[in-house]
């Protein structure tokens, strides 16, 4: 349906077009969205725990976690509120390197990302490994600000950005695909921007 009087003034150049998923627009800034107040987590108080169900496998404090191999990832990110931002530059620890340090193979096919504020989001384990995702510690070379999820956030750039949980404090392997916070509140269980899986019921 064409909207009377609406023109494509903001249409991106065609070379950019191929990088913008359906229904998204290009954003230069970096908007902030979250369900509650911004937690201020001090690195002294920070820890990260890998869990299999309720059972902790390994916990790292901030110093230990920062001693893991750091990897750079520069990726386009896509927020479900319809903005896409090109070439965001992150550094952090690949989930592969976390698993290697814990000396395990992924024990189950599903994972819940856990945050300091109680937020959770579910991601299939295979979307987190093989270089696809990291626990990011730096954005554009600087510590991630609290607004953007610092000290550490998950980065799963190929899914809508709510899957990249802010204020991350753990990953929990689960036997079943358990919906997280937004997934229980009307958002898609998987969230692939290229298939426009925004809300529950999207194919």
């Amino acid at each position: 349906m064409v909207t009377r009087g609406f023109s494509s003034g903001r249409k991106p150049p065609t070379d950019a077009d191929a990088r913008i998923p359906p229904g998204q627009y290009l954003e230069q800034g970096f908007p902030v969205l979250s369900a509650g107040p911004t937690p201020r987590v001090r690195t002294e108080d920070w820890s990260f725990t890998l869990k299999h169900g309720p059972r902790p496998i390994k916990t790292w404090n901030w110093t230990e976690f920062n001693a893991l191999p750091l990897t750079k990832m520069t990726r386009d990110i896509h927020c479900v509120t319809a903005w896409t931002k090109f070439d965001t530059a992150w550094q952090g620890v690949l989930v592969d390197d976390i698993l290697a340090d814990a000396g395990i193979e992924p024990p189950t096919a599903f994972t819940l990302a856990l945050s300091f504020d109680g937020y959770t989001t579910n991601v299939p384990t295979q979307d987190l490994i093989a270089g696809k995702a990291m626990v990011a510690l730096l954005y554009e070379g600087k510590p991630i600000t609290p607004d953007h999820g610092g000290p550490a956030r998950l980065l799963v750039p190929h899914l809508y950005f709510w899957k990249s949980a802010k204020w991350l404090n753990g990953l929990q392997f689960t036997e079943r695909d358990e919906p997280g916070f937004w997934e229980l509140r009307g958002y898609h269980i998987y969230g692939d921007p290229w298939r426009e899986q925004r809300y529950t019921g999207d194919p």
């Binding site: 909207t3 009377r4 627009y25 908007p31 369900a35 107040p37 509120t81 319809a82 916070f181």
Partner: protein, 248 residues
């Protein structure tokens, strides 16, 4: 056996039934859905516009009307001069025009009278919109849940829904309006002429008979960050605070 209905597009065409200017920069658009549209106070919709060459743009807008309001859905849209969608609504959209709408969306920033209270609502600018739906829902249900709204606007004339809010306040049935004008002197005894802060939150909570059971904060990202921090500094537990950030 009848055939299963074909899968419906989540988008529906809605017609602009009425346009009402609220403040110099905010205008309400009353949309007539083409199929039944049930929602909860606090939810939002996505609006989609399509250009002749197929280019589409979409944005989210909170619903201002109460679920009980009847057929049309009210959106209150602030004009951002260099924006893409809000200037379209302000400068081009006319009664009778059609746009596409998807929703209702969002299952977190919602309240219904059965959730109880007291409620502390904190809105900045157009961030009052989903809070207005809650206040209207409370009124439509004749709910006795105590509610305080702290509403920050730059000046008196930019207080969206001002007359209606003052009317509800004047009923003295458990709703209190506190205005925080950031660029003008306060006019009502309960109002402030400064930005929201912890002291203002503490004083506003004293208007409620008991500490709030939920606090809802909505507005620009900068406003929500400041207001949520003020609530925490005023002693509101973080897990009672729900936020809706308009992103920019």
């Amino acid at each position: 056996m009848s055939d299963a209905p074909a899968a419906q597009s989540p988008w529906q065409t809605v017609t602009i039934a009425r346009i009402e200017k609220r403040t110099p920069r905010v205008t309400s658009f009353f949309l007539q859905p083409s199929r039944p549209f049930a929602y909860r106070a606090g939810q939002h919709v996505d609006v989609r516009l399509t250009a002749p060459d197929g280019y589409q743009a979409r944005r989210s807008y909170s619903i201002a009307s109460a679920p009980e309001a009847g057929e049309t859905i009210e959106l209150a849209i602030e004009r951002l001069d260099d924006g893409e969608i809000s200037p379209f609504f302000h400068d081009i959209a006319a009664v009778g025009d059609e746009v596409e709408l998807r929703g209702p969306l969002g299952g977190h920033f919602v309240w219904s009278d059965s959730d109880g209270g007291p409620l502390l609502l904190v809105g900045g600018g157009s961030g009052v919109v989903p809070l207005m739906a809650m206040i209207r829902h409370r009124a439509a249900r004749r709910s006795a849940v105590p509610v305080a709204l702290v509403f920050s606007a730059r000046v008196w004339d930019e207080v969206i829904f001002r007359d209606e809010l003052i009317d509800v306040h004047d009923r003295r049935d458990g709703f209190d309006l506190v205005l925080a004008l950031t660029r003008e002197a306060a006019r009502r005894p309960s109002d402030y002429s400064r930005r929201v802060d912890a002291a203002m939150m503490e004083q506003s909570m004293l208007r409620l008979p008991a500490p709030p059971r939920f606090a809802f904060v909505c507005g620009s990202n900068a406003f929500v960050s400041a207001a949520a921090q003020a609530l925490i500094d005023a002693g509101v537990p973080a897990n009672l605070i729900r936020t809706e950030r308009y992103g920019v």
